[in-house]
Structures are given as C-alpha cells and as structure tokens.
Symmetry: C2
Subunit: 326 residues, 2 copies
C-alpha cells in the first residue's frame, strides 16, 4: 500500500507506515516480523528469543527469506544472575547489517558504540521521561516511550501514554514513538496529535494471522476486554502487565501475602508462559497483554491490519478532524 503518512520516523527507518511492531519475546518470530515489514511497518525480533548468537543468525536468515524490507532486532538488557552474551549477539547484528536495533531494559550505554559502529539506528524503549532524556544524551536516535497501558514491563511510575507522549515529544529533539495502548488508526492519529511520529503495537500484532501463537490464545485476545489485565511482581520492583487468568490472580494473592522470588519463580517461569502461547494451555502461564486488548475484535492478516490502521488515521487527519474546524 502506498505511503499515506510521512514522519521523521518513516524517513529514518525507511518504512512506508509509522508503525513499529514490538519486539515481543517468543512471539516476534520471523514469520510475524517479515509480515510487518512486508506490510510497510517495521518488524522487530527479540534477540533473546533465539537462545544464542547462532540462533539469532538463523532467525535473521529465515526472515530475509520472507522479506527484503528492513526489519530490526530488539536487545533487552536484563539484570540476570548469569550474564547474557550480548557481545556475540551484537556481533551478529553488526555482521548481518541489521539497520535498526531496539534497546530496552537497562541503560544501553555500555553497548551503544559497538551497535552504532555497525551503522544501525538505535531506538531506545523506556517508561520514564528521565530515562528518555538520558538515552537521547548518550546518542540514541529515536525514543520509544512506553506508557502504563503496555503489555509486559510498564516500569514502576504508572504514568500513561497520554502524559508521557507529549512530555517526551516536547523535551526531546529526536523523534518519539508512542507505545502502550495503541491498536488502531484512532490511536495513531492521537499519537501524532500528541507529538509522536509513530506508534509501537505489541498486543495488537499478537492477534493476527501471522502471529505464531496458539489459535486458542488469539481467540482469547479477541474475547478479553480492557479490564482483564493485571499488574504483577510490583513487590519485586519488576512490574509486569499480564492477562488476568487464574494463575495471575494466584500470583497476585501470593504477593499480597508476602511471597518472595523463590516462591513465585516456579509459577512465573517462562516455560509455563511458552506452554500457554504455543500449546494454548490458557491457565498454564502468564501472558503479557496490554490494555489495548479491549480494542481488539478480530484476527486479521498483518498487512490488512497495518493498511486499515493507516487508512483510518489518514481519514481522521485528512477529513474527520478538519471537518470539526468551525
């Protein structure tokens, strides 16, 4: 589909539409990433999904079989006991000439020179204005600012996209991508009004034809409403927004009773989450889901989703909103 909306983000990322697909662990597999890039957005795969450098290399090769458009790799810097081998992942990214790296988690500064020396643009994803300013100051090219609504890790401040987006846009020089709570063209138009130059969608892309998750999970996303998420693990200062299934309620209850990481670990294990995602065992694990799930009512192909999102935003900007001018 021809370009309808052009911003610094579409120019810098060399994409047609200002829509970035969140680098979701396990979900952002080559098929989904390629579908988003083929649809004119930016697909992003999460490096940590693929185990090691070899796995990432394979995933990149597979994606390149499916698309010749640009796509990105997400590097999430986690405070883990066993340090991940980020160096070798970055070697792959640089060696493969990946054009965009999305960093998240801890401050990317120790790795930034090495990433940028390879020529990649860096989108840093964060949940607070102070972190966004810091990221700009160390040389990140674009800031993705993630509001309270988001799936996964919203941080500990609980400030929403409606507040974070205009603050980031007015306090930064680099372009801002609004993230958390976006699922359609109304959200895209609103983000642009707030000063962002693109949106990130995660939960919305989970409920698409090319998303590699179990059909029962996709159907559940269609059925869920906006009140069916819950914040967990605040007690560990590692808050996560997930679908409020029976297991999530149990974890919340254990937290209220003072359970620590040792007691919670077996329940929140990624293995349980994988069973949920891949086998459709809906109560087996925790499923990161954002409040935008309330705006999801179907399971379209990715290209159709991107097309209707920009078409709706275009119609708002070109026709509906100007019609309100007195």
């Amino acid at each position: 589909m021809t370009q309808l909306i052009r911003t610094r983000v579409t120019d810098m990322l060399k994409i047609d539409h200002p829509i970035v697909q969140g680098g979701m662990m396990w979900v952002a597999q080559p098929e989904l990433v390629a579908a988003v890039s083929n649809g004119g957005g930016l697909g992003i795969m999460a490096a940590l999904t693929f185990g090691d450098a070899k796995g990432l290399e394979k995933a990149i090769a597979r994606t390149r079989q499916l698309t010749d458009r640009p796509f990105g790799v997400n590097l999430t810097f986690l405070p883990t006991l066993i340090p991940k081998d980020y160096g070798s992942l970055i070697d792959v990214i640089v060696g493969e000439g990946i054009p965009v790296v999305e960093t998240a988690g801890q401050n990317p500064e120790p790795w930034l020179d090495r990433i940028k020396a390879g020529g990649a643009l860096v989108i840093h994803k964060c949940t607070a204005i102070r972190h966004a300013k810091k990221a700009e100051s160390i040389g990140c090219d674009i800031i993705s600012i993630d509001g309270f609504e988001c799936a996964g890790h919203p941080g500990e401040d609980d400030v929403t996209s409606l507040i974070l987006t205009p603050l980031a846009a007015s306090q930064l020089t680099v372009p801002v991508i609004a993230s958390g709570g976006f699922a359609d063209g109304r959200g895209l138009a609103a983000a642009l009004a707030l000063g962002a130059e693109g949106i990130n969608m995660g939960t919305r892309f989970m409920a698409t034809a090319e998303s590699p998750i179990h059909p029962a999970v996709k159907q559940k996303l269609v059925e869920m409403n906006e009140t069916e998420t819950i914040l967990l693990l605040r007690s560990l200062r590692n808050t996560e927004r997930v679908w409020r299934n029976t297991l999530a309620e149990r974890v919340a209850s254990m937290e209220r009773e003072g359970a620590g990481i040792e007691q919670l670990a077996p329940l929140i294990s990624g293995k349980n989450g994988l069973r949920l995602l891949s086998e459709g065992e809906l109560e087996a694990g925790l499923l990161p889901v954002g409040q935008s799930v309330g705006l999801i009512s179907d399971i379209p192909a990715v290209a159709e989703l991107i097309g209707r999102t920009v078409t709706q935003a275009h119609e708002l900007l070109a026709t509906r909103l100007p019609s309100l001018l007195a």
Copy 2:
C-alpha cells in the same frame, strides 16, 4: 475568542469551545466557574461544596453576577451514612433553570426524571464502559468518561483515557467528553482523534489565576511532575488519586499495614484538605491531583488558558496534522 472547533458537545451545551471544567469540590467556586464560562468553556460548580440548598442558591446567584454564559452544577451521589438532601439541591437546580447537570458517583437513575423535567441536559461522569452504556440507556445526554490518569476518583479498573475514550465513542450514540490526563491543545486534538467531542480539565484549572486556592498550592502544581501522584484508599474500594505528599505516603503505608477506615478517617478528613487548599499548609491534607500535573508549567488566567488550548488544537487539526499526509 471566536469559535475554532465545533462538535455536538459545543452545540448541545451552547458553548464556544469543547472544554468543560471539572466540578471539583471546594475549588469550583463561583469565580472559577464564571471565568471558565466567560472564556467560552463550561464552568461547573459542585453542589456539595456549598453545604445545603440555600448555599447552592447563593453560589448560583454569585456566579450569575459574574457571567451571563451557561454554567453547570455537579451532583455527586455518594454512599454516605447520613443521606444528603439531593432532592432540595435538585429543586434549586430546576428552580434556577440551570442548563447542565453533571452527575457522578452512584447511578443517577433515581433522580434523573426530576432533573430532566426541569429541562437540564445531564452529563454523567463515569470510569467504566459498562457504566457509560447504562447511563446512556437511562437517558443521560452526554457521557464524560474518566481515565486512570484523573485526579480524585478513577474507579477500581485502572483503564486509561487512551483506551476508554475510543471504546466509549464507538459503543455509545450520545457524545463523549474525554476526562483524565488532559491539560492542553495536544490533548484536546488527541481526544477528538479518539472520537471524543470535548475534554474535561480539572487539575489544569486549579493552576489558574481565578482558582480559589492558596498561591503556594498553585506554585506546587507548577513544580510537580507526572510521577508525583499516588493512588490511595484502594483498600476501601474508594480509590483516590492525590498529590504524593508526606501525608499521602503515610496513608499509603497505613493501608499496606491493614489500617481500616476508623484509623484512616482522621487523616483523610476533608477539613485537612481544606487547610491545604485554603491556607497553603501543604502537608496538612490530601490534594486530588491528576497525572496531567506533569503538563502544567504556569498559572495563566482562565480565558488565556482556554484560548491557547483551542488555538493549539486548531493549529494541529488545520496545519500540523495535515502536513503529515504523504
């Protein structure tokens, strides 16, 4: 200032600009209410601020000395031990020919016929889609949907304005006013993109020249950032967003330790809040403040604030957003 943006809300409320001032207890005094209406928005006074029917009558008379434009009265239906005499307040509203009543709190159905028989339009304020649909079904004319960001009572669902606004707009036939997190023209333009036909601003109007609160409090609002609010009283299922001062931290800590209403009551008393508001004793009480406080950086006159808000939104709709069309 001439009308720049016209919606069903401006037409129905007979106002120039799609901006409604939240009916804040204690703060929405005649001077502020009249200034908002004179500025082309809709000022709303909170009936419960004035003690009884006689007090409300006086406040209406005082407001009428200050403006000949329409203004509204807020009726908040609280679950109190000593039932308020809502009947006599409604008699005053009807007798005085008040054109707009904003209802909030519990279901307004028992009082709706009596209010509407007097000819007033009813704006019902709520924090959940199920309540919005119920309010429409019983005959409310406009729904004001209040997101997680808001000052005061955001409800217990924690769904943000970015999600609630488009859901309300698409599921209701009556016009929607977006509330919670709005403080400038970017927010107004975003609300319109999301399908609302107006915005409600509360916290933003507290930091204006005509707001009847202590200068030290206004200055504090300018200094606060978006992370300096806190949700209290969730343990009582009566969640309230307030400024995170020392007292608020203390109440939060007591709640975590299991304190009940008997222990909390002396701290959360309205009398303490009044000392804070009127005498500038910043640690004396709890001050309802929304996340939009992070977007506030000055203390303008109300007319200037309304003027620049609609001018900024107009510029976005007329120029900036269309310039992004490829």
